[in-house]
């Protein structure tokens, strides 16, 4: 059976920092793949390339077994959440309905989905608030509601919790895990936080200098680092654990 999402031989130079090169990457439907790596290793570039926002020099991306007909058609099947919520200077409601309106969905459907996701993320009471007046945690909830309302075939998350304080992050983890269990949204999360990746990912990938150098079940990856570089990175990121390269 073909994977739900598959990437082959993706190649994107980002001089002078690194060259993104993903030989093979696949996600099964409903899976949450967390890719962890140090700052500047190419995690955000990977997500932007997977979102067809940055153009790779070469590579093949298949969603549900199909090559995308065009960039727009493909991007309307996915949703992207960035580290900063990047909300528009308008109401929370207008922000949450943005992608739905881009897709030209009928108004009752837009309303139904926006109401559901505002409720689901505990921000319905903020619907008519200006988005600029929200706290960091509330803004990121709006950003997640905006993405989840699209019912994406693939959700791309670029360090969405990085700017949040620990208690806010903890609550969002819990809510998001419940949402994943319920909706089975196929998700690719990139983060520099190993503990976050371990907790949220059903699979864990390690990215160093533009390449995914190890992939597997979180405990398996953490227990058996593939090579010295990965071992050094894991040890540095998670000094309390013992790693066996």
């Amino acid at each position: 059976m073909k994977p739900w999402f598959e990437v082959r031989d993706l190649y994107l130079p980002r001089a002078p920092h690194f060259t993104l090169h993903v030989e093979h990457l696949s996600l099964e439907r409903g899976e949450v793949l967390a890719i962890v790596g140090p700052n500047g290793c190419g995690k955000s570039t990977l997500l932007l390339a997977l979102a067809h926002i940055l153009k790779p020099v070469q590579g093949e991306i298949r969603l549900n077994g199909h090559l995308p007909a065009n960039d727009l058609a493909y991007r309307r099947q996915i949703a992207l959440v960035l580290q900063d919520a990047l909300l528009l200077n308008t109401s929370v409601w207008n922000n949450v309905t943005l992608g739905l309106r881009f897709r030209g969905l009928p108004r009752p459907e837009v309303r139904r989905r926006a109401e559901y996701w505002l409720e689901r993320l505990g921000i319905r009471h903020l619907a008519h608030w200006p988005a600029t007046k929200l706290s960091g945690g509330e803004a990121q909830r709006v950003s997640l509601a905006r993405a989840l309302a699209l019912e994406p075939a693939l959700l791309l998350l670029d360090e969405p919790f990085a700017a949040l304080d620990a208690p806010t992050r903890e609550r969002l983890y819990t809510d998001l895990q419940a949402i994943w269990r319920e909706t089975q949204t196929t998700t690719l999360l990139v983060t520099h936080d190993l503990e976050e990746a371990r907790r949220l990912g059903t699979r864990l990938g390690i990215m160093l200098a533009g390449r995914i150098v190890q992939m597997g079940a979180p405990e398996e990856v953490l227990a058996r680092a593939a090579g010295e570089q990965v071992g050094a990175y894991l040890k540095h990121s998670h000094p309390k654990r013992a790693f066996n390269p």
Binding site: A79, V81, L82, T90, A147
Partner: protein, 214 residues
């Protein structure tokens, strides 16, 4: 108010609003393209446009007059000393202002917002419309600056319009004429009307702009 002054006010408004509208229709897409694309010579082009924002109206008047002069390349169109000639000159004055300030307004919007919009499924046109809405406050300021530049200029209107009574006399050229005649009381009244008119238009635009803040 006598009918002559009323005609002057209406012509001033018609000419300057038309020039502002044309510069908006041309300048908004041009400024947007300049802000959102990357190409060789972009900095040079932006520098030229920024220089154009301070272009002396008499220089614009001179160039348009030479083009529209009876013996000039566009002389057969018989546009010299017509309101259309003033509209052309004023459009050329307002255009760099609108282009330059539009580009500057859009360059201030976080570049990652475009990625975010694309990542939510926006087409190119939807991205541009959303960015315009997001930058609506500085874009309206660009429009006000463009209108301010043309309603207050006198050199170009005088040179290509000729200040002909009942045909091409606008508020600024009428003030110059009355002052040169020593009719300071009439010049002062016209000056007050010009300032009042400019205030009214800018007040309307500012109300729209400040509503956008909410």
């Amino acid at each position: 108010m006598d009918t002559e002054i009323l005609a002057i006010i209406l012509l001033s408004l018609r000419v300057s609003l038309t020039a502002t509208l044309i510069s908006l229709l041309v300048g908004l897409p041009l400024g947007t393209a300049l802000a959102l694309s990357r190409f060789r010579g972009q900095t040079m082009l932006l520098s030229l446009i920024n220089t154009g924002m301070g272009l002396p109206p008499v220089v614009v008047g001179l160039v348009v007059a030479m083009l529209l002069w009876r013996s000039g390349p566009l002389g057969t169109l018989n546009l010299i000393y017509t309101p259309t000639a003033i509209i052309i000159a004023q459009t050329l004055i307002a255009l760099p202002v609108v282009v330059g300030l539009t580009a500057s307004a859009l360059q201030q919007v976080d570049e990652r917002l475009r990625w975010q919009l694309a990542g939510l499924g926006a087409s190119t046109w939807q991205q541009v419309l959303t960015l315009w809405l997001e930058a609506r406050l500085p874009l309206l300021a660009a429009l006000m600056a463009g209108f301010g530049a043309v309603i207050s200029e006198v050199g170009a209107s005088m040179m290509v319009g000729g200040n002909i009574k009942g045909q091409t006399r606008v508020l600024t050229t009428a003030i110059v004429l009355e002052t040169s005649r020593g009719a300071f009381d009439r010049a002062l009244v016209l000056g007050g009307l010009l300032v009042g008119l400019t205030f009214l238009v800018n007040w309307g635009l500012t109300v729209i702009q400040q509503r956008g803040r909410r």
